[in-house]
C-alpha cells in the first residue's frame, strides 16, 4: 500500500507539502513518484541508501568512551526541494550579505570607518573575542577575508526564510552536501530522468579556483594545501574529501614550516617545497604558536609572519571570525546599507542585544518566550531555549546576562520548517535548516542549495549530527524546465 499523503500534516511550514495537503509546485514530481511506491518499496530504498553510505565510506567522527569512532553519516532518503526561482533570490541575498561582511572585516582592520561614524558601537568591538589586533593594517587580495562562508538559513511558520547565523571561521558540511547527492542518485535514479535537478558537484572545482586565485606567485602553478588539525578532528572526513577532490595535499601543522625568508614550506621526501595557498581548517588561535596560543601543536610557527608579508595566502584570513559573532550578526542589515547602499534581500531573525538597556529589559521580562544565545559559542552550546526551560535555568541566565550583557543576545523562537522524513513510524514531518556555502572572489559563487540538516527526533529543533541530527539531499528544481 502506498503512503496516503492526505494524512501528512505538519505543525508548521512544510517544504514539500502545502497546508491543504497538496504538494508544492517544485515537489510535485517527487511526491507523485513517492505515491507510486509502496511503503515496503520506500523502506527498501532506505536500506539501499544505508548500504551506499557504508560502501562509500561516508562517516563523521564522534568521541565517545575515550575512543574516536567513525559513525556512518545519518541520512534521510527523501530530498528537500527548493524551487529555482526562490533559490535565485536567496543566492543573490547571500552574495550581498557576504560582500558586506567582507567590507566590514576589512574596515575593522583598517580605517574603522563604521565605528567612527557611530554605526557600529565601539564597545561591541572592544569586547569582541574574535577580533585579532595582530591583523590590523593587513589588506588581503581583493579585500576578501572570508573566502568560504557557510550561512545557516531557517524558515519560519509563515514561510519567511531568515539568516540565522554566518559561519566565517571554518564552516564545515559541504562534503556531505556532495555525497548526499551521490547517494540519492544511486537510490532514486529514475527521478533524475524526469526532473530538472541542478547539479551540486561543481563545488570542489570552484573552491580550488578560489584558492588558486590567491597565490602570491601568479603565473606559476600554485601550490595549494589543506591544513587539518588531524585525524581526531570531527571534520577529518571532509578535509580528506576536499583535498582529494581538489587534488591538493592534505597537511598537518608539523608538515609545514616557515623559513628565515618568511616563506612557508612543506616537508616532502624530495626536500622542502614552497606553499602558496593554505586552506586552513584550524581555528585562528591554533594557527601560529609564535603569535597566538604558544601551546598549539597543530599550527605552524611563523605563519602569521609569512601571511602578513604576503608570502603565503590563508583562507579564511586570520581574524575573519570577528564577524562570526551573534551580536555582530545583528548589525549585518546595517552593514549592507552602509557599505553597499542596498536594502538587505534576506532578513535577519529579529534580535535583542542585551548590552542595550531597553533590549535587556525586554529579554529579562520575556525569558520564557525567547532563545538566548551567547555571542561566540557554536554548535548550539550554551543556549537557553525559553519555552523549554526550567525556572532554575532562567534564573541562571538572568545572572549570566547581568554579569556580561555584551555576551548575550536573544531572538524569538523560530518554528523551523519541516519536510517529510522516513522514520520507523513511516513518513513524518521533521524540522530542518539549510547551510549554503558562499565563495568570495571577483565573481562570488554560491552552492546550489546547500546542506540540509534535519532533526531526526520527533519534535526536536536540534539538527547537529552530534546530537541526533541527520541530513537530506537538497534539490534546487527548475519548474519551468519540467
Amino acid at each position: 500500500m502506498a503512503f496516503d499523503w492526505r494524512e501528512y500534516r505538519s505543525q508548521t511550514f512544510d517544504e514539500l507539502v502545502e497546508e491543504s495537503g497538496e504538494p508544492r509546485l517544485a515537489a510535485q514530481r517527487l511526491i507523485e513518484y513517492l505515491s507510486s511506491l509502496s511503503e515496503p518499496e520506500i523502506a527498501e530504498r532506505r536500506l539501499a541508501s544505508e548500504l551506499a553510505i557504508k560502501v562509500m565510506g561516508i562517516t563523521f567522527t564522534v568521541y565517545s568512551d575515550g575512543r574516536n569512532v567513525d559513525r556512518a553519516w545519518p541520512f534521510d532518503v527523501l530530498p528537500r526541494v527548493i524551487s529555482r526561482v526562490e533559490w535565485e533570490r536567496t543566492e543573490a541575498g547571500l552574495k550581498q550579505r557576504v560582500a558586506a561582511l567582507n567590507c566590514f572585516i576589512q574596515d575593522l582592520y583598517g580605517e574603522k570607518r563604521i565605528v567612527k561614524e557611530g554605526i557600529f558601537p565601539k564597545a561591541v568591538l572592544a569586547d569582541s573575542v574574535n577580533y585579532r589586533p595582530q591583523c590590523e593594517g593587513v589588506k588581503p587580495r581583493g579585500g576578501v577575508w572570508a573566502h568560504v562562508c557557510g550561512s545557516d538559513l531557517v524558515r519560519d511558520r509563515d514561510g519567511t526564510l531568515y539568516v540565522l547565523e554566518d559561519n566565517l571561521r571554518v564552516p564545515s558540511g559541504v562534503s556531505y552536501m556532495i555525497e548526499n547527492r551521490m547517494v540519492t542518485k544511486r537510490v532514486f535514479p529514475e527521478l533524475f530522468e524526469t526532473t530538472t535537478i541542478l547539479p551540486v558537484d561543481d563545488y570542489p572545482a570552484q573552491l580550488y579556483e578560489t584558492l588558486a586565485g590567491l597565490s602570491p606567485r601568479p603565473g606559476d602553478d600554485p601550490v595549494v594545501v589543506l591544513l587539518t588539525p588531524g585525524v581526531y578532528n570531527s571534520a577529518y572526513f571532509e578535509h580528506c574529501y576536499l583535498a582529494q577532490q581538489m587534488g591538493v595535499e592534505l597537511v598537518e601543522g608539523s608538515d609545514l614550516f616557515v623559513d628565515v625568508d618568511d616563506c612557508c614550506y612543506m616537508r616532502t621526501i624530495y626536500g622542502p617545497k614552497r606553499v602558496d595557498v593554505i586552506y586552513r581548517r584550524i581555528d585562528d588561535l591554533f594557527l601560529d604558536p609564535e603569535t597566538f596560543r604558544a601551546d598549539s601543536v597543530v599550527g605552524v610557527a611563523g605563519l602569521m609572519r609569512a601571511w602578513k608579508r604576503g608570502k603565503v595566502a590563508l583562507a579564511n584570513a586570520p581574524g575573519a571570525g570577528v564577524a562570526d559573532d551573534k551580536v555582530v550578526y545583528a548589525f549585518v542589515p546595517k552593514m549592507i546599507r552602509y557599505y553597499l547602499d542596498q536594502d538587505p534581500i534576506l532578513p535577519n531573525v529579529p534580535s535583542y542585544l542585551c548590552y542595550r538597556e531597553k533590549d535587556r529589559q525586554h529579554v529579562l521580562a520575556h525569558l520564557e518566550e525567547l532563545v538566548v544565545k551567547p555571542a561566540n559559542e557554536s554548535g548550539g552550546y550554551g543556549m537557553l531555549i525559553g519555552p523549554k526551560s526550567t525556572r532554575a535555568e532562567r534564573e541562571k541566565f538572568r545572572k549570566l546576562i547581568a554579569a556580561d550583557p555584551r555576551n548575550y543576545m536573544a531572538q524569538p523562537v523560530i518554528a523551523l520548517s519541516t519536510a517529510p522524513t522516513l522514520t520507523v513510524d513511516g513518513l513524518e514531518p521533521r524540522h530542518l535548516d539549510l547551510r549554503p556555502f558562499i565563495l568570495s572572489r571577483d565573481e562570488p559563487y554560491v552552492t546550489t542549495g546547500g546542506l540540509t540538516r534535519v532533526a531526526l527526533v520527533k519534535g526536536s529543533l536540534v539538527v547537529n549530527s552530534s546530537q541526533g541530527g541527520g541530513s537530506k539531499d537538497t534539490w534546487v528544481v527548475d519548474v519551468e524546465d519540467g
Binding site: 580528506c240 598537518e252 608539523s254 616537508r267 616532502t268 621526501i269 604558536p289 605552524v300 610557527a301
Partner: protein, 325 residues
C-alpha cells in the same frame, strides 16, 4: 610526497610485519613444546629476550611461564611489540594514509585489530591458540597481498616495502640470535644432541623456511647450513640478504641519498661476507649484534634522508607523528 606520509607508510609496513612475525614466534614455540618429551624443558623466556623486552616483561610479570609469555607477546597492550600493540600502531599509521591506499586495506586492518581485541582473551589457551595465531598471520599476509597487487608501486608503496623488509631482516636476525640463548634446556648432555636438530628446525619453521631450505640446501638440518640459509640466501624472502637486496632494488626509485646507500651496502657486506660455518661453533651473537647495528644505522639514515626534512626553524612535532619502535 609528504615526509609524514612516507614515514607513516614505512611504519605501517614495519608494524604489520612485526605483528605477523610475533604470531609466528609464539606459534612455533607452541608446536615445538609438543614435540619435546616431558623431561626436556622448553623455555618461554628466550622469546621475551628475542623481542628485546626482558626489562618490560620483568616489570610486569614475576614468572616467565607459557601463560605469561604468550599473553605478554600477544595481547598485552603494555608491551609495545605485542601483536595487539603492533596492529594498533599499524592502524594508527594507516589513519592518515588511508586515502593513499586501496579502500579495503583500512577495513581489513580494522577487522584484524578488532578480532585480536575481541577474541584474543579466550584464545590464549593451547586449544584455541593455533586458530587465533593463524588468523593473525593470514590477516597480515592478506593485507600485504592487497597492497602488492592492488596498489600502484609508486614512491609510497616503496616506503611501505622498505619498512616490511627492514622489519623482516631485523626479526630474522633476532630469531637466529635467540639460538645462542638456547630455547631447550636439557637436563644432561646426552639429552641435548637429538634435540639440536629439532631446535634448528623450529628456527626454520618460525620463518616458514623449512620447505625452501629442504629444496635448496639438501643437507640435514643443522646449525651452520640453517644460519647460512637465513642470512645469505638470495631467493628466500625472509633471509636477511634477500630483504636487504629488495631494499637495494627500491632505492633507485627514490631521491638519491648516498648515506642511505652507504649504510645499506655496509650492512649487506657484513651479512654476505660472514664466515657462518666457523661462527656457529663460536656463537652467532657477535655477528648478529653487528648486523643489528647495521640495520639500526640504515633506519636512522632513512629517517634523516626522508622523514625529517631539516629546517632552519624547528617546527613543533607532536608526539603522535613520531612513530617509534
Amino acid at each position: 610526497m609528504l615526509s609524514r606520509l612516507a614515514d607513516n607508510l614505512y611504519w605501517f609496513g614495519r608494524y604489520l610485519q612485526r605483528a605477523e612475525n610475533t604470531a609466528r614466534l609464539v606459534n612455533v614455540n607452541t608446536i615445538l613444546s609438543m614435540d619435546l618429551p616431558r623431561r626436556v624443558q622448553l623455555g618461554w623466556e628466550p622469546l621475551v629476550e628475542l623481542v628485546g623486552a626482558r626489562a618490560a616483561f620483568a616489570a610486569l610479570y614475576s614468572v616467565s611461564d607459557e601463560e605469561n609469555v604468550v599473553r605478554f607477546l600477544s595481547l598485552d597492550e603494555r608491551n609495545a611489540g605485542s601483536i595487539v600493540s603492533s596492529l594498533h600502531r599499524a592502524r594508527e599509521s594507516l589513519r592518515t594514509t588511508r586515502d593513499y591506499m586501496p579502500g579495503d586495506v583500512w577495513e581489513r586492518v580494522n577487522d584484524l585489530y578488532f578480532y585480536v581485541q575481541d577474541k584474543g582473551e579466550r584464545s590464549l589457551g593451547r586449544s584455541r591458540r593455533q586458530e587465533f595465531l593463524d588468523r593473525v598471520m593470514d590477516g597480515a599476509l592478506g593485507i600485504h597481498g592487497l597492497l602488492v597487487f592492488n596498489m600502484s608501486h609508486d614512491v609510497g608503496f616503496r616506503f611501505f616495502s622498505i619498512g616490511v623488509n627492514l622489519e623482516q631482516a631485523d626479526m630474522t636476525t633476532r630469531i637466529l640470535d635467540a639460538r645462542s640463548t638456547r630455547a631447550i634446556q636439557p637436563r644432561s648432555a646426552e639429552d641435548a644432541a637429538p634435540f639440536e636438530a629439532v631446535e634448528w628446525m623450529s628456527v626454520l619453521r618460525s620463518l616458514t623456511a623449512h620447505q625452501a631450505y629442504r629444496r635448496q640446501v639438501r643437507s640435514r638440518v643443522a646449525g651452520a647450513p640453517v644460519a647460512r640459509f637465513l642470512l645469505q640466501n638470495a631467493d628466500f624472502p625472509r633471509s636477511v640478504s634477500c630483504c636487504l637486496l629488495a631494499i637495494r632494488q627500491t632505492l633507485p626509485h627514490l631521491p638519491s641519498h648516498p648515506e642511505v646507500e652507504r649504510r645499506l651496502e655496509r650492512t649487506l657486506a657484513i651479512v654476505q661476507n660472514a664466515k657462518v660455518n666457523t661462527l656457529v661453533e663460536a656463537g652467532l651473537k657477535g655477528l648478529m649484534d653487528e648486523i643489528q647495528k647495521g640495520l639500526d644505522a640504515l633506519h636512522e639514515a632513512l629517517s634523516v634522508a626522508f622523514f625529517q626534512v631539516s629546517t632552519a626553524i624547528p617546527a613543533p612535532t607532536p608526539s603522535r607523528t613520531s612513530a617509534d619502535s
